[in-house]
């Protein structure tokens, strides 16, 4: 019964073609927020994503937020790292410049940390959206 259901759902969903764009758009979108949309000529969406995600991340840094590095310690630190990693080029630049390394000394700095994590997570959603556009699942 379960096998029949699986077989039916596989038959109903045609395999998505793997195009160059379906690889490049998400990769570029991860590196530069919004670029995955811009390369597919969704200029306004791309610029809005770049401004939104970029501003959240930079504001987080300017609020003295903490940036997480790769670690195998506390589960919250690992999740923080995964969130930060989503920001792609912004995260790499921040690490390279050694920014965001201060201790969280006040409440707003903690907000800044969350701003950067959420910016990364929002970029993951934007990357998935760029992929869906590339494979023709979305306009």
């Amino acid at each position: 019964m379960a096998n029949q259901t699986t077989a039916k759902s596989k038959a109903a969903e045609p395999a998505q073609p793997v195009s160059t764009m379906s690889v490049i758009a998400p990769a570029l979108g991860w590196l530069i927020p919004g670029a995955g949309h811009m390369i597919q000529k969704r200029w306004i969406r791309g610029v809005l994503l770049l401004v939104s995600i970029g501003t959240l991340f930079v504001l987080g840094l300017m609020m003295q937020g903490h940036i997480y590095k790769a670690n195998g310690g506390d589960i919250l630190d690992i999740l923080g790292f995964i969130g930060d990693l989503g920001a792609g080029g912004l995260y790499i630049t921040t690490l390279t410049m050694n920014w965001g390394q201060g201790a969280i000394a006040f409440a707003i700095a903690d907000y800044g940390t969350k701003f950067m994590i959420v910016a990364g997570l929002l970029n993951f959603i934007a990357v998935a959206d760029a992929y869906h556009i590339a494979i023709g699942k979305k306009q």
Partner: protein, 60 residues
């Protein structure tokens, strides 16, 4: 350079940008994107105001 936002302005900025991304990524047409973005923003800010008043009442 350090930015000091108030709790409310931090929540406002967060709600604004998160709503823009949600609107763009969760809907198909431009009209639906704008509507969903506005809906998310209203929900974020409504939640902030509601939680704020709830904490004020608890504190009294």
């Amino acid at each position: 350079m350090t930015v000091h936002l108030t709790h409310f302005s931090a929540a406002f900025v967060f709600a604004l940008f998160a709503s823009i991304v949600f609107g763009i990524t969760h809907r198909e047409t431009t009209r639906d994107m704008v509507r969903y973005g506005l809906y998310c923003f209203a929900m974020f800010m409504g939640g902030v105001l509601l939680a704020g008043w709830a904490m004020w009442l608890i504190r009294r």
